[in-house]
């Protein structure tokens, strides 16, 4: 399996432009300032840390911050614009688009016309624009799992290099200060009027901050061949879901994420020298994290140092994990750790951690764990090591993968189970499942009902394995009905009227988190964003099962119209629906349908073209063309669409037209799988594209002699 190294980094932080300013700032911290875009007279808390932007009032602020961070990272990696076409991009963001609240959070706003520039309104917008500008035609995604988003993006990007899809990935995170987020954290009493003091008696919450950071990840041999200097080894990653409460983290859940990262990196707990904490300086979060670190890393306590960058830079929301990763990589290069600022002698009743407080102290800076937790109980941890470390040699045996079943939960038709394994097998009674909280939103309830039915149908043994492996989801519109309510509360009654329940349920990963809690899914959860994100969740799961990381995974797409707060005239309707698929390693069953390949198409003008689409189909064909091609070409310009249909005219193909929403895209895959299982074509390629989104092509085949 490919080794992944980091060859470039860049950021724009509350300390200014560039990694040097960020690293220097971590030694000192800074003073808070009033937020630029809104009045704080009504709030108890008055200060934030803005990033130093050249044009803070720009409509494209998230993109401009991200562009600056990416430029620096590529400069360090020695990559010129357009030079690495196979390089992909993974973006983490929770807030892009919400910096224009009157345009994105007001459901009463007028319809947009077809010629409107909508990328500026999308969470995926900065990633889409950067891929276009920089010629990044490799694998592309946007993830949004609250404050664990950016370690999740690092994990996804690492897998794309490991599975050989690309030798290079850039991973970015950008979040900007918006009033809905400020008011939300304010209502939850997580903000401090002082400074961020994690793990100390004086802690009183965090200072909300903003910024953008990028890392360049590269296959080690690729870096060597072009003479790039590795800054650190991206040794592995781990993830977990607390499967408990959406805003009270658990030490047990964090501990599982840390162990998973250690196992993936082939490291023992006692070998870890640095723990870069999430450290938000809230009592519940600090306590859970301290318990987890004490439990998992106790064997190394003599040599372990814990540090927490938020003590200097505040909380950059979804970008926090990537900022911490930048700090960890810089520390490895400089052989100097950033300190935890403001530590007093009397640590509170959390387990005592070996906090690093003396900047001049000579300590080892790797192996280093970087952890991030987010609302919903999402945990994702990465392990970084010195660049010259010998990574354990592991072999990746691609094994066949199948889709066992699907479930569709629909607001009108109820829950429908669609089995693709007709061989009988394990079909047992349903498991005992906790009821979903009645106050959950509709998409949460739909997702939970679909996942519950899928776990029931899977039987106890298989469902137990799936619960430990996880649930990957896609959504186009998240749970933005809550944002609309927060925005309305701010406008009509003032920011202090925002209901913390709305804020807690507003992060895009909350439906998967509530579902994980209801069904005790303790494995990793991830939320991909965008119209084709359901298909991305599917191929992500296929990759993880194929590579042997998990025996099986759940995949879901969900959406509902109440969460689409704006759209363009003529956009397709959004069904209120969750569609769930169970992906697993294929056994030796004759007649089973296998996923025999997949291709990702970047959302750029170069990669979403007729020749690129046809090449993807042909590559999947190999020696034996698929008997049918189902193509949703909504993501291609009209002339390109016509060219694809013309090229496909001599083979059986079906033009598809998915409704809006991440479930609708998966529904086409479910229909294709149904055809194959029912003895229709023996092989079928499904192509999913949409405007402003990466494309995904998947080939299915009914194997054996049935």
């Amino acid at each position: 399996m490919a080794h992944v190294v980091i060859t470039g980094m860049g950021c724009v932080s509350p300390f200014g432009d560039g990694v040097d300013a960020f690293v220097a700032g971590l030694q000192t911290g800074r003073a808070a300032e009033p937020p630029r875009g809104f009045d704080v007279a009504d709030y108890r808390i008055k200060g934030v840390y803005h990033a130093r932007a050249t044009d803070p009032d720009s409509r494209e602020l998230p993109l401009e911050l991200a562009e600056s961070a990416l430029s620096e990272a590529f400069r360090q990696a020695g990559v010129a614009r357009g030079e690495e076409r196979s390089c992909g991009l993974a973006l983490a963001s929770t807030s892009a688009g919400w910096h224009l609240p009157n345009e994105t959070l007001d459901p009463a706003r007028p319809l947009l016309r077809g010629d409107a520039d909508v990328t500026v309104l999308l969470k995926e917008g900065p990633g889409l624009a950067l891929a276009e500008r920089w010629g990044l035609d490799g694998p592309h995604c946007t993830v949004s799992s609250a404050c664990a988003s950016s370690t999740g993006a690092l994990a996804w990007a690492t897998e794309r290099i490991r599975d050989g899809q690309t030798p290079m990935m850039v991973v970015g995170a950008v979040d900007v200060l918006t009033e809905v987020v400020f008011a939300g954290f304010h209502s939850m009493r997580l903000l401090t009027s002082g400074e961020t003091r994690p793990f100390t008696a004086g802690r009183s919450g965090f200072v909300l901050a903003e910024g953008a950071a990028f890392l360049v990840l590269e296959e080690a041999e690729h870096a060597r061949s072009r003479g790039a200097r590795p800054l650190a080894l991206m040794a592995g990653w781990g993830g977990s879901s607390d499967a408990a409460h959406i805003t009270t983290p658990t030490g047990e859940g964090i501990a599982r994420s840390l162990r998973d990262a250690l196992a993936d990196s082939g490291r023992k707990p006692a070998e870890v020298r640095v723990y870069h904490a999430h450290g938000t300086a809230s009592a519940a979060s600090d306590t859970a994290e301290a318990e987890a670190v004490t439990e998992v890393l106790a064997p190394g306590e003599e040599t372990l140092r814990v540090t927490a960058t938020k003590s200097a830079v505040g909380h950059t929301e979804g970008a926090a994990g990537l900022f911490t990763a930048v700090a960890a990589v810089a520390a490895i290069g400089l052989r100097r750790l950033p300190p935890v600022l403001g530590v007093d002698d009397a640590q509170p009743a959390t387990p005592r951690l070996p906090l690093h407080t003396a900047p001049a102290e000579d300590v080892q800076t790797s192996p280093a764990l970087v952890h991030a937790s987010g609302f919903g109980g999402a945990n994702c941890t990465v392990l970084l090591d010195a660049p010259d470390t010998a990574a354990p040699v592991r072999h990746r045996h691609a094994r066949p993968v199948t889709v066992r079943l699907a479930v569709r939960a629909d607001a009108h038709d109820g829950v429908r189970l669609i089995p693709f394994d007709r061989s009988g097998g394990e079909a047992e009674a349903g498991a005992d499942v906790a009821p979903q909280a009645a106050s959950s939103g509709r998409v949460s309830r739909l997702l939970s009902r679909a996942v519950g039915a899928a776990l029931d149908a899977a039987g106890p043994r298989r469902s137990a394995a799936v619960r430990e492996s996880g649930l990957l989801t896609g959504t186009a519109f998240g749970v933005q009905e809550h944002h609309a309510r927060m925005h309305e509360a701010i406008r009509s009654r003032g920011g202090r009227s925002v209901d913390p329940l709305d804020f807690a349920r507003s992060t895009f990963n909350v439906p998967v988190a509530e579902c994980a809690a209801a069904h005790r899914v303790r494995g990793r959860t991830e939320t991909h964003v965008g119209p084709t994100s359901g298909a991305e969740a599917l191929v992500s799961a296929v990759g993880l099962v194929e590579g042997g990381r998990h025996p099986a995974l759940l995949v879901a797409g969900y959406d509902a119209p109440e969460n689409r707060l704006w759209h363009v005239e003529g956009d397709a309707p959004v069904p209120a629906r969750a569609t769930v698929l169970l992906v697993e390693a294929a056994g030796e069953r004759p007649g089973a349908v296998q996923v025999t390949g997949h291709r990702r198409l970047a959302p750029t003008s170069r990669a979403l073209t007729a020749p690129a689409v046809l090449r993807a189909v042909e590559e999947l064909d190999g020696d034996e063309p698929a008997e049918e091609v189902w193509a949703d070409l909504a993501g291609l310009p009209a002339p390109e669409r016509a060219a694809v249909y013309e090229a496909l005219c001599d083979r059986r193909h079906r033009p598809m037209n998915a409704n809006a929403g991440a479930a609708a895209v998966l529904d086409i895959h479910v229909a294709a799988l149904t055809q194959l299982t029912d003895g229709g074509p023996r092989s079928l390629t499904v192509l999913s594209t949409a405007a402003h989104a990466p494309g995904v092509a998947v080939r299915y085949e009914r194997g054996g002699h049935d």
Binding site: R493, D499, P500, L501
Partner: protein
């Protein structure tokens, strides 16, 4: 307890816990025992602030455990 604060506080507490429907609250009942978890409690505080036009500091909330103490805090802050 003849003032209007306690009934008003009770009304808001009821709004945050379905299991209390139709039941009268006593001042010494602990909020945590009423089916109100940490997140719901924060939502209750926002409602209290809005109803009584207050701005309650985090430090003042740390000593509030019962419905009566919550009403007491409201009276104290309203008198300021």
């Amino acid at each position: 307890m003849t003032d209007s604060v306690f009934p008003a506080v009770c009304e808001l507490v009821h709004k945050h816990s379905a299991e209390l429907a139709g039941r009268e609250l006593e001042p010494d009942e602990r909020i945590v025992d009423l089916g109100i978890d940490s997140l719901e409690r924060l939502s209750l505080v926002v409602d209290i602030e809005n109803r009584f036009g207050l701005m309650i500091d985090d430090a003042d909330l740390s000593d509030v455990h019962t419905v009566g103490e919550l009403a007491g805090l409201v009276r104290l802050q309203s008198a300021k």
